[in-house]
């Protein structure tokens, strides 16, 4: 096992002692894990099917057509496992299948003939928090929407941090013209109304995931760059850097072995806030209709639906709650990280 720097261990311990942040982190981790393996909990595909003595595991496999399970000659498309379950039940054979807790995928429109979406929460239908206006399961939409939002933010974080750290470090370290030039660029960049531009671009080209990450990071890199520049600027004047220099270390070595590791704390402090702003950005864009294309599960779209269907309280309640939980946990984690890395002396006098 790698030996952690005891200072780091101390910081981790300090973080753990901030209960609000610590439990938020646990909750957040669970949420992310659940969303990564959401297919196991929320999916229209069965987890296991036993049919005529063979076992099938449809969750992560290719589509299995209904023909395979004897649902009909023309059943060339994806088996409806819920129907299959009903069939198995009535047949009384030893065929059986196991469905996930919520047997719907986020795209599936589960409409009915006699009543109309949005359907309220129902245990019988297994829409535990109801459906949206197209009859899609709310939990499924929310969970898969969370997955997309969080990965969007992580990708965004990754891209902006890579760019920000590279340019920021160079600016702070080399200084001079390069620094001056990018200072101006950043000043300009951060003044450009970024949401407007994203809207303009998004309205003419229906962005996909990667494209949207790129567009948003195209305007999002300045923050991290500026932060990195400032830290590098301070850090490079510190004596341990001089010490490395006096040993004859190259600039690259100094940047990568000395400066960047010492800025990690600050980078880490900003990460949760970047993540929450990533989520908010995506949600806002989706809400305005300039985010990922339909029918991608998305909180923004659900928010939009919920404003329009207030009588369907389950939509607004669920999505607003999900948003509040996620964003507050992320924020609490961020706050706790900040406090753990930079504890404030609490001093008052008599």
């Amino acid at each position: 096992m790698i030996k952690l720097n005891p200072l780091t261990i101390k910081k981790i311990r300090r973080f753990k002692s901030i209960k609000r942040g610590y439990y938020s982190l646990i909750l957040l981790t669970i949420m992310i894990l659940v969303s990564i393996f959401a297919e196991l909990f929320i999916n229209s595909r069965a987890l296991i099917v036993k049919y005529e003595g063979n076992y099938y595991f449809p969750t992560y496999s290719n589509m299995i057509s209904g023909k395979t399970f004897g649902l009909g000659e023309n059943y060339d498309y994806e088996t409806s496992y819920r129907d299959l379950a009903t069939k198995f039940d009535t047949e009384n054979s030893d065929n059986w299948l196991l469905m996930p807790i919520i047997p719907f995928n986020p795209y599936e429109v589960d409409l009915k003939n006699d009543s109309y979406a949005p359907f309220p929460p129902s245990l019988k239908d297994k829409h535990f928090l109801g459906t949206d206006t197209q009859g899609r399961d709310i939990i499924a939409r929310v969970v898969y929407g969370f997955r997309i939002a969080i990965f969007f933010s992580l990708f965004l974080l990754f891209v902006t941090y890579i760019v920000g750290i590279t340019i920021g470090c160079l600016m702070g370290y080399t200084g001079k013209l390069f620094d001056l030039f990018f200072q101006r660029i950043i000043e300009i960049w951060s003044n450009v109304p970024f949401l407007y531009i994203v809207i303009i671009v998004a309205s003419i080209m229906t962005p996909n995931f990667i494209l949207l990450v790129l567009i948003v990071s195209f305007f999002g890199w300045t923050n991290m760059t500026w932060i990195m520049r400032t830290i590098t600027y301070k850090e490079k004047e510190r004596e341990y850097v001089l010490a490395a220099k006096s040993l004859g270390a190259s600039n690259l070595r100094i940047i990568f072995k000395h400066i960047i590791p010492n800025t990690i704390a600050i980078i880490v402090t900003f990460a949760p806030f970047s993540i929450s702003s990533g989520i908010v950005t995506l949600t806002s864009l989706d809400y305005l209709g300039f985010g990922l294309p339909h029918p991608t599960p998305s909180w923004g779209e659900l928010l939009n639906q919920s404003w329009e269907n207030l009588d369907a309280w389950w939509i607004s309640t669920t999505v607003v709650t999900a948003m509040i939980i996620t964003l507050t946990t992320v924020t609490f984690v961020g706050e706790a990280v900040r406090e753990a890395l930079d504890p404030k002396l609490h001093t008052i006098y008599e």
């Binding site: 609000r20 101006r184 660029i185 000043e187 300009i188 003044n191 450009v192 109304p193 949401l195 407007y196 531009i197 809207i199 303009i200 671009v201 309205s203 003419i204 929450s276 908010v280 949600t283 806002s284 305005l288 928010l303 404003w307 207030l310 607004s316 607003v320 948003m323 509040i324 964003l327 507050t328 992320v330 924020t331 609490f332 706050e335 404030k344 002396l345 609490h346 001093t347 008052i348 006098y349 008599e350």
Partner: protein, 337 residues
């Protein structure tokens, strides 16, 4: 000092050109401007209403060329940029391609509205954050601190427009005690002065809450953290050692120093005052600068977009200078050599 500001102002120029040129370029290469709008209108028109026609197609190439000329899109990018900037310099922001009104008039009409919300929000933010930050710093890690932390971070986490939407649904639609957005009632002019004030307040409560909810946390925490730093500093110890009661030491010594970082952010708040948040304005149907900008972007009213950009970037740059002045005001160490 004067020369400092002159140079500061001079530095605005390249930044200003950079910002405007960039947006100008983007708007140039994006379809959906007045010409595209006319093309699509023409397409619809010949299919609509009473008029009967078979020959017609949407506009021909020559007609499109003519329109380009009319709107000045026939010139190369740089030329038209310079034409634009020359006009801006002479105080002419151009004409909206949507309303055919002078852009400046349109902006001018929105300024009071945004200013109203912005300044109330600003006053509230500072007015609440500073005392709250002080309280939290002194009561660090107590119940009061923890509870207010949870409240402000929750407020911070949820975007203002979501807060706004939720509040409006509850107070305006459900409880029906506050108006459904808008800036003032339709019969505003007919109201008495007190009625007008009351009407304004009624309309302002929710949007202001939405505006303030998010900016709260940042400021409060900033205030708290710097105050805590300052409380632990030597000079507060000195002040107390002189015989100053703790409270007085906080107010007279620690506070002023803690205001420095807050003053640094003051300038950017100035520009936010005016530009507002279009999402909140959209939710509350407030005709401010934010909404104007948003609608102009959606409908590709680029002169207005550029006009707002001009105003907001000048405000931002001036805001920076204002920040400098503010900081210099509270911090004697800062000098404009």
């Amino acid at each position: 000092m004067v020369s400092y500001f002159i140079r500061r102002f001079l530095l605005i120029i390249p930044t200003f050109i950079g910002i405007t040129l960039m947006v100008f370029t983007i708007t140039r290469f994006v379809p959906g401007g007045p010409i595209e709008r006319m093309i699509s209108e023409a397409g619809n028109m010949q299919n609509s209403g009473n008029i009967q026609s078979e020959q017609d197609q949407p506009l021909s190439e020559e007609q499109i060329e003519e329109l380009k000329k009319y709107y000045g899109f026939d010139k190369p990018l740089i030329t038209s940029y310079f034409i634009w900037i020359k006009k801006v310099l002479s105080g002419d922001l151009g004409i909206s391609t949507r309303y055919y009104d002078p852009v400046w008039d349109m902006i001018k009409n929105r300024i009071p509205i945004s200013l109203f919300f912005g300044s109330i929000a600003l006053v509230l933010t500072y007015g609440i954050c500073i005392p709250l930050g002080v309280l939290k710093a002194i009561k660090h890690k107590t119940l009061v601190d923890n509870i207010t932390s949870i409240i402000i971070f929750t407020g911070y986490a949820i975007p203002g427009w979501v807060v706004g939407g939720v509040l409006m649904q509850y107070f305006a639609s459900h409880l029906d005690i506050l108006p459904l957005g808008g800036f003032v009632s339709d019969n505003f002019e007919e109201l008495s002065l007190s009625g007008q004030i009351f009407d304004l307040i009624k309309h302002a409560v929710l949007p202001v809450t939405a505006y303030v909810a998010g900016s709260f946390a940042v400021m409060t925490v900033l205030m708290k953290n710097t105050l805590m730093d300052n409380l632990a500093s030597d000079y507060v110890k000195t002040a107390i050692a002189k015989g100053l009661p703790f409270k007085t030491a906080v107010l007279k010594h620690a506070m002023r120093n803690s205001l420095i970082p807050l003053a640094t952010g003051f300038g950017s708040n100035i520009s936010i005052i005016l530009s507002g948040s279009f999402l909140i304005e959209k939710v509350f149907n407030i005709d401010g600068m934010g909404l104007l900008g948003y609608e102009s972007v959606l409908l590709r009213d680029y002169p207005v977009v550029m006009g707002i950009l001009v105003i907001s970037s000048i405000l931002f740059l001036i805001g920076n200078i204002l920040s400098d002045i503010c900081v210099a005001f509270v911090d004697p160490r800062v000098q404009f050599e």
